[in-house]
Each structure stands twice: as structure tokens, then as C-alpha cells.
Amino acid sequence: MQIRVIDIAKDFGRTGALRGVSLDIRDGELIALLGPSGSGKTTLLRVIAGLEAPSAGKVYFGDEDATGVPVQKRRIGFVFQNYALFKHMSVADNIAYGLDVLPRSEQPSKADIRKRVQGLLDLVQLSDIGGRYPRELSGGQQQRVALARALAVEPRVLLLDEPFGALDAKVRKDLRRWLRELHERTGHTTVFVTHDQEEALELADRVAILNAGQLEQVGTADEVYDSPASAFVMSFVGDTSSIPVEFDGTRLTHEGKPFAAAFAGSCPSGGRLYVRPKDIEICEVAPGRLEGRVVNVHRTAAGRRARIAIGTGPVVLEAEVGVDKGPSVGELVGLEVRIGRVFAD
């Protein structure tokens, strides 16, 4: 089901408000709503679900204007952050809930319901636990039961709020891969909310990045990572450090000193130069090069990273350095910027 969100606004007295968000979600796509807390990503998901009414704007499910349709009639599947499984019901009863509450005329027979529930349990690879209660399950199992429960009503769209937020790192990675496979098998249009950029990049076909109630960029993982549309996107997706720069028409200068750097972005007079650690190389001090003093060198999972104080100010750039060699703390080094982006302040 294609879903179109048009110019949605939602006023709260608190964080999570939306200020004019438009987004096309394609049929069968897996899309991530990515943003820091308070950016409005969960609010947008709840507006699509019908759990919040927008103060302005429209939500279309296909060609149907769903803005005024109550949540019960939208036929959506929603997986809550803490799963919200019904504690007093067995796993099978939880999954059957959406079928049990159908009007009598649409309700499948008891035998059909049982068959459907078993089918869903098989789908989420929990075939034998239908008789158990939610409290007897691990977090990852509860999460999969919640997903099965949401799928039972044959939803037109599957909405997941921080689906892996409450799980530990290892389970999270396994479930992520599993969800991707499930999506490929069932083909449900799926929207999930996350604050974890790695999760969004790995799992989603496209990523929609929200900040302060506005959409910053929508695109594939490659697009948002390699061609960020704003300084916010660049620094939120992937690691980035930055320095203030001026642009004199031909060269970038920092504190009046020109330096050579390859960069993209339009900047009539300057702004900030954003560079990823992998795009900075440490080399000899030379004229026309940025230079700075190494503040510290720390280990990251895959390599090592140096923090370098530039010039006189409190400005620090981060550069990837080799595991076996690298500058020592206090050393004056030159910096080669392979590629950076300039955004206006």
C-alpha cells in the first residue's frame, strides 16, 4: 500500500511536534524514520497509524484519504517500543486478538483462527510457544510475538516504533537481519522509527531523516551518507567533525590562513567545513595545509582515531589513523582533507 503524508503539522506543548512534513512511502518499501529524540519521528509514525490526529495536513492510504479514519478502521499493524503484549493472555491469544475482535460477520471460524495463529507463529519462528505467557519469553521473543500479532490482521502497512530499542546489541543485530528477510518474504509496506543510524542504513530501502519536526532528507543509505543535504544530516548519519571556514572565491581559509581541500557544497562566503574522519589524512606540516596539535588518540572498534586541535581556537577535527602507526599526543601535524562539505552556518 502506498502511503502519502502531505504537509502534516502537529502542535504539542512539548517536544515531538511536527512542522509541515510531506513524505511518499512507496508500496512494499521498507523505510526508516531516523532522527534524534524529540525530532518528531514517533509522532509522525503515530499520525500515520491514527493514534494521533494531526493539527494540519493529510494522510492518504493509496487513493483513500485516511486523515479522519479512526485507528481501528485503518487496518495497520503497529509494534510498540515495549511490545505492549497483553500480559494476561497466552501468546496464541495475543496473536488472535485482532481476529477475535472482528465483527461476527467477518470473523473467521475458531479453527481458521487457530490455523492462522499457528501459521504466524511458524512465520516468526516460534512454533511451539503458543501456550506460554509473555512474561515467560525473552525480549527478542516478545518482539517477534508483537510482530506476529500485528501481522494477524493482514495490515495494509506495518509500523514499528523503535523495534529493537529495548534489546541488547547481539539480539538486536540478529533480529534486524531477520526482519529484513521477513520483509522480503511478506512484502509488507513497512515504516520503522529509530534513533540508531546504523540500524536505519543497514535495514531500510530508504531513510527519512527528521530534525526538530521537519524532514531534512529522504533517500537511500548511499544518498544520505554520501550526499547529505544538510549539515544536520551529515553530522547525524556517520561521524563528522567540522571547522568554521571562509571562502574567498578560490580557496578555503581558516582563521585567515588559506588551505587546500577538496569540498562540495555551495557557500558564497563560507560556513563550516564538515569532514568524515576517514577523509582526513595526517601528513607532514607544509605551507597551504591545515595544521594542528594532536590532543589524543583513541581506539575505535575497527581502527584508531586522533583528535587534532586546529589553530588557536577550540576547534577539533577527527582523523582516522592506522592501528600500528600514528601520531603521538602533542605532535604538530599537517592535515590533508580528501573530501569535505561546506554548509552555511
Binding site: L51, F78, N82, Y83, F86, V101, G139, Q142
Partner: protein, 291 residues
Amino acid sequence: MPEHIRPGGQASAPVTTESAAARTALIALALAFLALFLILPVIVVFSEALRKGVAFYLATFTDPDAQAAIRLTLIVAAIAVPLNMIFGIAASWAIAKFEFPGKSLLITLIDLPFSISPVVSGLIYVLLFGGAQGYFGPWLKAHGVEVIFALPGIVLATIFVTFPFVARELIPLMQEQGNTDEEAALTLGAGGLRVFLTVTLPNIRWGLLYGVLLCNARAMGEFGAVSVVSGHIRGLTNTMPLQVEILYNEYNFAAAFAMASLLTLLALVTLLAKTLLEMHYGEALARPPRM
């Protein structure tokens, strides 16, 4: 391994707890108070009640006035408790799940019956509905409705006094549980009533039962407010606590204590039920809501 970090070693004991003498003294003091002020009176009630033998004890309850008092008490509780249960659920639902102006005022008002003297609660109703001088008294009298010195007045006073029990129990419980279970049910297509019956009610059932038990105990045991509005008409408007007082004032101690023993028994049963519930419901609360 050095002495001071030996796990569970005696070296660490003085850090975490009082000396043995202090502990013994505190426990003994607590037990002595308990025995003197709680256990002894209960024993006295039953021993006084049975002083003239089991036959006399049982005969007390065949007295028509006594039977009328027991009946009236049961009727009052049967009306007041369900009404307060409905009110309690509605109020705690509103407070826990919605934001609205005047919410904190409502929370404060719910507690009012706890902080006001029961006698005053009774007087309020006399002032409102009393025959000659009450605000609505003359009008009610003209329409043949008696409130004060009759069953309606007793029920009203009892409802007022037992108002907070269910709501007080449910508000923190519902606040802690939040809305997500209800929202999940809504997304699965359930209507409002369905959500309440299949999701909300099961989630609060133990707290609700506990609140109803306490409410019931107070409804049956209330003296002050009921005393003011009842008029003490024997066989008509005397509840069990009022009957106890009358018998006592007539120096009919055995009968007074016999009646009192019934009320005490009610208290003990409530306490027992509450303890059993806490064993169940305490565990449910202690269990982390998200695992």
C-alpha cells in the same frame, strides 16, 4: 584474599546493619506494641463475646433488632461499594489517561473524605437534606422522600466516607501502566468497550479487588458519619456499628461484643484477603513491565 573484601564475611556485617542488641530491642519493642494495641484487643473482643457461652453468643444474632442491623449494613454496603467502584474506575481512568484542566484539583478532592472528620461528613448531609432546616429538606418532604434518618441518608454518608478507596488504589497503578496496551488493542481493531473489558480491566483487576475490599470494610464499619444521619431508630436505621454502641450503652456487654466480633471477623477476613492479594499482586508489580 584480604579480610575486608571477603564476600559475606563477618568483617562487613557492622557496615550494613545495626548491632545485635539494637536489633533485638527494636524487634521486641515493635512486637510488644503490636501485642498490646492490636492483638490483645482482638482477643478481648472474642473472649468477651463468648463470655456467656456459645449458645448465648449465637442467640444474640436471633434478636430481630440485631438481624435488622446486619441486614441494613449489608444493604448499605451492597449499594455504596459498587457505586464507588464505578466512580473509582472512572476517576482513575480520567486522571491516569487524560490531560485536562482541574486534574490536580480532582486528585485533591478525591482525598477530601479521608481528611475530613466523619462527623462533619454526616452533618453536611443533614444540612443538605435535613427535614426542617436542610436546603433540599422541605422540597424532598413535600415529594414524600425521606433522606435523613432513613436508608438514603445512610447510603449517601457511607458513599462519601468510602469515596477514595478504589480511586486511591487504581490511580498509581493505571499511571504506571500507561496507555500502550490500550493503544495496541485499538490498532488491532477493538472498540472502546472491548478494550476496557479485555485489556484495561484484566490489567487492574488485583488493584481493583484490593480497593473494593478496603472500601467494603470501611462501608460496613463506618460509625461517625452514619451515626449523625441515622437517627438510631432500632430495627430500622441502626447499622452494626451503631447497634454495638447501643448495646454497650445498655450495659449489655456480651451482646455488644458478639456484634462487635462479627465486625472484627470482617476485618480479619479483609486483612487475610489483602495479604493473599498482595502476595499475588505484589509479584505482578515487582515484575518489570518490559523485559
